[in-house]
């Protein structure tokens, strides 16, 4: 589906006229949310939590029973109840998500899957057309807020170091694709998916699409938006760094780079995690290296260090958390409730600077109650922004497989048992 089809299907959805869905759709379309106070938004989200619970209790016997079992009254639910309701993302692996999707949800949506970097069995999420429409609106607004400017329709060009086929598989690719498509901004895919029949993860079967990369490098369009995994920008910058002078000259003649001129409003947007690269330098070092080989200008045409934005968007979240390097740490959409759980008790934790397990509640998701914790460690600090805080990604929770101790009663030939 393209973005127009999504909006069209969403408007015809059975749920489109549900009062809660209408309320959510109205709010998502309100760009003024980013100018509200943190207190106003907190109260708004509290109200949305109660409305969401009512909505899901009405549309699903499962949720009605669940709230009863957890002694949560939708009418008086508090943000502290999120800790009780949050699901571990691991339950969403395979067909795990199915059980949580309400029966009234439209059947004409799309599925997204995690890349499988952290687990062989990927997280698989269903998105109805309404949810997809909300995803496009909310993510575009959040992106523009962090980017610091309005993306003018039909202006500029974007290069995404992914294959077009992944638009229908990976959430991050769909985020970018649909947001740019709705703005009529040209998107070039910098990779091709080779030999799908081979075993392995899709991102491991990617090969550069030289034509598209060249097209992007040579383009005079502004702004130039470069989307990539951190590993992608690092490897590209490293390649420029170690190029012989002769090769550099040849490359420069062919493509105009290095340095890569991203022009006015040009930005590098990273996302999608490490993709299994274990020897990547810290993010600030990647930025430092990349800024030697990528150039950008502000709106008035003055040279500036190329801006870096990083997107934290798991498969199971409809909207992302985005930061801008050196300007702001990660912020969510104003309607998203980002909360932190104590890593020992898994109860809500509200101490600034303390590391905990991140949880996310997206009240605008209409097909399932999207409250989950993906297994990442995060901290927050107070901020003057609309949300009142910004979040710092710390690390993925390290899941040890554990010694598979044999009983009867213990571990004979223990080294043969290994760590699976």
């Amino acid at each position: 589906m393209n973005s127009s089809e999504i909006f069209d299907l969403a408007s015809k959805s059975r749920l489109a006229h549900d009062p809660y869905v209408e309320k959510v759709w109205g709010l998502v379309n309100d760009k003024g949310l980013f100018n509200k106070s943190p207190h106003y938004l907190r109260e708004l989200r509290k109200g949305l939590l109660r409305d969401a619970l009512k909505y899901f209790a009405v549309h699903s016997e499962y949720y009605a029973q669940l709230f009863e079992r957890l002694s949560i009254n939708p009418k008086s639910a508090e943000p502290s109840d999120l800790a009780k309701l949050a699901l571990p993302s691991d339950i969403l692996r395979g067909d795990g998500h199915k059980q949580f999707v309400i029966k009234d949800a439209d059947q004409n949506g799309e599925y997204f899957m995690s890349s499988g970097t952290t687990n062989k069995n990927p997280v698989k999420i269903y998105r109805s057309s309404i949810d997809l429409a909300i995803m496009i609106k909310a993510n575009t607004d959040l992106f523009e807020y962090v980017y610091g400017d309005y993306l003018e329709p039909a202006k500029g060009v974007a290069l995404f170091m992914a294959a077009s086929e992944l638009r229908y598989r990976l959430n991050f690719v769909a985020f970018v694709h649909l947001a740019l498509e709705s703005k009529s901004i040209q998107l070039l895919y910098g990779m091709d998916l080779k030999d799908e029949s081979r075993d392995g993860k899709p991102w491991q079967k990617l090969e550069p699409n030289k034509d598209n990369i060249l097209k992007f490098l040579k383009s005079k369009e502004e702004p130039k938006l470069f989307f990539t995994a951190p590993a992608g920008i690092y490897l590209m910058s490293k390649q420029f760094e170690t190029m012989s002078i002769t090769k550099k000259i040849i490359y420069k003649i062919a493509s105009g780079a290095p340095p890569v001129a991203l022009g006015r409003g040009g930005v590098i947007v990273t996302g999608g995690g490490t993709k299994g690269f274990t020897d990547l330098p810290p993010y600030d070092k990647i930025v430092e290296l990349s800024r030697k080989h990528f150039r950008s200008k502000d709106r008035s045409g003055v040279d500036i260090p190329v801006p870096f934005m990083d997107v934290l968007g798991m498969t199971e979240t409809l909207t992302a958390l985005i930061d801008k390097f050196g300007v702001m740490d990660k912020v969510p959409h104003p309607l998203s409730e980002v909360f932190i759980l104590n890593p020992k008790t898994y109860e809500l934790m509200e101490e600034e600077g303390k590391e905990g397990v991140v949880g996310i509640f997206n009240p605008f998701v209409t097909s399932w109650l999207e409250i989950f914790y993906p297994g990442d460690i995060i901290s927050f600090h107070r901020s003057e922004n609309f949300y009142g805080s910004e979040f710092v990604y710390v690390r993925r929770l390290k899941l040890e497989e554990g010694w598979n101790l044999q009983r009867a009663c213990g571990g004979t030939l223990e080294e043969l048992m290994g760590r699976k």
């Binding site: 079992r69 339950i91 040890e400 554990g402 598979n404 101790l405 044999q406 009867a408 009663c409 080294e415």
Partner: protein, 488 residues
């Protein structure tokens, strides 16, 4: 503990050579095939000598070793060992203290005598001479060894039990302990040396025992299992080691007898009329001891009665776990906490009631489920939450009548949540007297090995067989003697 860095063989009979290896920061000196072959050459002669020594003398030696152990333990000579074993086995020092105190019970002459008496129909004199069992017909129990014991690594006691019975029955015995309990086992066996100062029998028994660690890919281990002139192999453990060992043994031209003691677990059965504080306390204690890693540890509870009563009982167990668990502090890492907390949520979301503690050193969990187990549902998203990694965690399945009880015992080994377990070893009962007999009788059809009161599921009586087998009998051959023809 400098010497702990090196796993040296215990072999007093012969000068030996070793293959030096390294594993998880330890140096392993494993006995070479050449040395093993040499000691095995002497084994027949040793067995012959040992099996002529009156059984009560052999029992005296073991008793003496047990007493020496207790004296040293009381003097604090094993404090370092205690700390080391706590670290290597993963149990807390309090439990290790309890474990070390059990050594003397394993070596106690009366306990061993009782076990032998029930293994040999009270004819234990047959272990050193022919005993007439009928007119002119006699039995003599001779060593079937050499015996090789590949023991478990759960704690110190499990490797000692078969080893003691093997030596007592006159067998030359090669013991391969686990890395985690190696130093404890060797420390016990060193006491034979001390005992042998005053006793030739002790010297003989010490010579009849060889201990060495072998890595799984060791050529020396392959030799012992697949080629060496061995009579009995006793393997304790599960897959994949079990199949590996079985294949090698099947190739041995000497056709040793193979006894596998596979992975087992325990089930507690509680009638609502017995769901008082006392039963709750007993269940809690058995959950805390050895962190449910024994074959007898309760890892599932079945409650016969109403839902409300079951929840009241769970609350009582929780109170007991709070108290008992604190006495045996455990540690849980970030990864295990994530899995545990997630599993608790999933079970709660799926309709079970969850009682739990978030105390860092005592994270217990009680799941109360209606009619059937809900645990299977969490193993797919959390494969690491298998029976080997569940600690202080039990699901109490509530059923209304006794009929469902047997099905829940029967299905346990095929339940994904219990993957790796062969079957139910121990059923701990808290039932009214009028139900005891009926339930015990019916359980015999479901493959269980032990039916005991809930309060001491982990305690073995001296006369108990091991997983359905009398080990002492297995380690011997019965020679039949008939002095007069019985005619055609």
């Amino acid at each position: 503990m400098d010497e702990t860095a090196c796993l040296n063989p215990f072999c007093e009979i012969e000068e030996y050579e070793v293959d030096r290896k390294e594993q998880i920061g330890l140096i392993i000196n494993e006995l070479k095939e050449k040395s093993l072959s040499k000691v095995l050459e002497k084994s027949k002669g040793l067995q012959s000598k040992l099996s002529r020594i009156p059984i009560h003398e052999r029992l005296e030696v073991l008793d003496k070793v047990g007493k020496l152990w207790t004296e040293k333990l009381d003097r604090g000579e094993y404090n370092k060992l205690k700390s080391f074993l706590a670290k290597s086995t993963g149990y807390n020092t309090q439990l290790m203290e309890l474990e070390l105190s059990f050594v003397a019970f394993v070596l106690n002459k009366e306990n061993i005598r009782k076990n032998l008496e029930y293994s040999f129909s009270k004819q234990i004199e047959g272990l050193h001479r022919f005993i007439e069992v009928e007119n002119q017909e006699s039995y003599r129990f001779v060593p079937a060894g050499p015996v090789v014991i590949i023991s478990s690594g759960n704690s110190l006691i499990p490797p000692l039990i078969p080893t003691v019975l093997s030596i007592t029955t006159g067998n030359f015995t090669i013991l391969k302990p686990s890395i985690s309990n190696y130093f404890g086992v060797v420390e016990v066996c060193r006491l034979f040396k001390e005992a042998s100062i005053e006793s030739e029998t002790a010297k003989l028994m010490m010579d009849a025992l060889t201990i060495s660690y072998f890595t799984h890919d060791s050529d020396n281990l392959r030799y012992i299992l697949g080629k060496a002139p061995i009579g009995v192999i006793n393997f304790w453990g599960g897959e994949p080691a079990r199949t590996y060992v079985s294949k090698l043994v099947s190739e041995n031209p000497n056709h040793p007898r193979l006894l596998i003691n596979g992975p087992l677990t325990g089930v507690a059965v509680i009638d609502e009329s017995y769901s008082d504080e006392n039963t709750a306390e007993n269940l809690a204690l058995n959950m805390v001891l050895y962190d449910q890693q024994l074959c007898s540890s309760p890892t599932r509870a079945i409650f016969i009665g109403g839902w409300r009563d079951a929840n009241k009982f769970a609350e009582k167990v929780g109170v007991a776990l709070n108290r008992i668990g604190k006495e045996y502090p455990s540690s849980t890492n970030e990864s295990s906490i994530y899995t545990l907390q997630s599993v608790r949520r999933i079970l709660q979301l799926s309709g079970s009631t969850v009682y739990a503690s978030n105390e860092a050193e005592n994270m217990w969990t009680l799941i109360v489920s209606k009619g059937e187990s809900a645990l299977e549902n969490v193993v797919e998203p959390f494969p690491t939450f298998n029976i080997h990694n569940r600690r202080r965690f039990i699901e109490i399945i509530v059923i209304e009548g006794y009929n469902q009880l047997y099905q829940l015992v029967d299905e346990l080994p095929i339940n994904e949540a219990y993957s790796g377990v062969d079957k139910v070893q121990t059923v701990g009962l808290a039932l009214p007297d009028d139900k005891m007999e009926e339930v015990s009788e019916k359980l015999t059809s479901y493959g269980v090995y032990r039916i005991v009161p809930i309060q001491d599921m982990s305690i073995r009586s001296a006369l108990e067989p091991y997983d359905g087998v009398n080990l002492a009998s297995f380690f011997t051959n019965t020679i039949y003697l008939r002095k007069k023809p019985i005619g055609w």
